[in-house]
Assembly symmetry: C2
Homo-oligomer: 284 residues x 2
């Protein structure tokens, strides 16, 4: 196990951070967003850097194999670090084999389809890693909190999502669903920091503050979404994300463990190497 | 100028490597693929690493501004390092704002459109950096060498390409066209190395060797394509690419110089910072 030195419990990071639902919910309040599981910052930073080449070679093998794919779903409250995770935790990835899809509020034309329509169109191709920055889960998160759909419609969506994800899995897509878990206090500090930095003002929206009044409702919607949709084949991970260095390390480890678990292998086209070398050397 | 320490001539890398056509051709034979312009490997490697954050911040500003875009066109013979350039020279780029499009031989359905149809669909959105790994130039390269279209059709394409690229420029897209220039001998060495490495065999195709007999024809087609289509607004750069470290450094410098030249600025939405801070601190 590559993580034993960094993980006080000697367990894989995946096992440590997998969401464990009880009665269809996870108890987010019981998970400390500042948790670091005994890992020191210098260990995490060193490891993240050292693993860049490893992630790149796993990804190359996924591409070479050309049969399966990986879908990373990133969710979290505003300022929880979705963009930063792509930028820092996943920077070992070769952009050539990775596609990031940011889902915003659906456009009028998207609204005329079922909620998974725009999602399915962005599913990974064989050999590809796709990152959803926000996802179909918004349809059971903001949609629930702000009552954008009737409760029975929201209720039906959990099952629809589970069937969709089970189909992806059957077709060779490994799902890695990450909830970046921050505290309300940490969000306040990050918004204040953003206000103090003029080059970040373009990111700021009045909504960032007004949505905070729904904090508890969002936590409750996340508890239900993660609880209802964390399955063996498409698990949710709750990433303590108050500390960015821990978040980056944990995300990177989970991706590595998932891809190692896929037992990827390079195709072997059985070339006649001797003959090919000879013809290469012969040609003028 | 950020490049003076590394460039013996004290000129910008863009100026040094810009293709200078004479009578509609560039003289590729006069450009040494092993040229390094007096830069040492350790300087190039250090600089590449040190510039990663700089590239990332230029890119963030491009995204924040949200008005213009960058299109990098990568061309070169097999094994010239197109994939390696994306992986190493451009690794400072945040994958969130970059999209790589690999153009293969056109599909039957693509063939039923004009040659720029599939290209135009992939043009960058405002704020985006797009990398074309091979491009519309194949339609005046392999198409010319292997006579996939009549000479008069090929001949007309240079002008069509120039008008297309001029339109992109007018709409705010900066074009960076890179020819990775390697020698025939270097290609032989790289193909031999690939044959010696079983995890690279999946990349190997019999064509890789048989196409070598057209080496001179390809060089001649490149000389014409670059010569006819290197314009002030959409310049071609000839990158000596026998040495990967030089290639990576040069590509990274050209991208930096191009984006610095764009004078990107962050939008200033004139937030009432005091009031926003107050409301953030007040809310429970």
């Amino acid at each position: 196990m590559p993580d034993t030195e960094g993980n006080a419990k000697g367990r894989s990071v995946r096992a440590t951070l997998t969401a464990r639902p009880r009665r269809g919910r996870v108890n987010l309040a019981a998970i400390d967003p500042s948790e670091t599981h005994g890992i020191k910052r210098y260990q995490a930073d060193e490891r993240l850097l050292a693993d860049e080449e490893h992630i790149m070679s796993l990804q190359e093998c996924l591409h070479a194999e050309g049969k399966r794919s990986v879908l990373i779903v990133l969710q979290g409250m505003d300022t929880s670090g979705k963009d930063g995770t792509v930028r820092y935790a996943l920077r070992g990835l070769n952009p050539q084999g990775v596609r990031i899809v940011s889902f915003k509020a659906p456009t009028p034309s998207e609204r005329r389809h079922d909620f998974l329509w725009r999602i399915k169109r962005q599913a990974p191709r064989a050999g590809e890693i796709v990152i959803f920055n926000r996802s179909h889960y918004e349809d059971v998160l903001i949609a629930k909190v702000r009552e954008l759909a009737p409760p029975r419609v929201i209720e039906a969506r959990y099952g629809i999502i589970n069937r969709f994800e089970a189909d992806l899995f059957k077709h060779g897509t490994r799902l890695v669903k990450l909830f970046l878990h921050i505290s309300e206090e940490e969000q306040r500090a990050r918004l204040l920091a953003r206000l103090g930095e003029p080059t970040k003002h373009w990111k700021f929206s009045g909504n960032d503050i007004s949505e905070r009044r729904y904090w508890d409702d969002y936590q409750s919607a996340y508890a239900a979404a993660i609880g209802r949709c964390s399955t063996e084949d498409a698990p949710w991970y709750v990433i303590p994300a108050n500390r960015k260095w821990y978040r980056n390390w944990a995300v990177s480890q989970i991706l590595i463990e998932t891809m190692e678990d896929m037992k990827l292998t390079y195709p072997n086209p059985h070339l006649d190497v001797r003959a090919l070398k000879k013809s290469l050397k012969a040609a003028a």
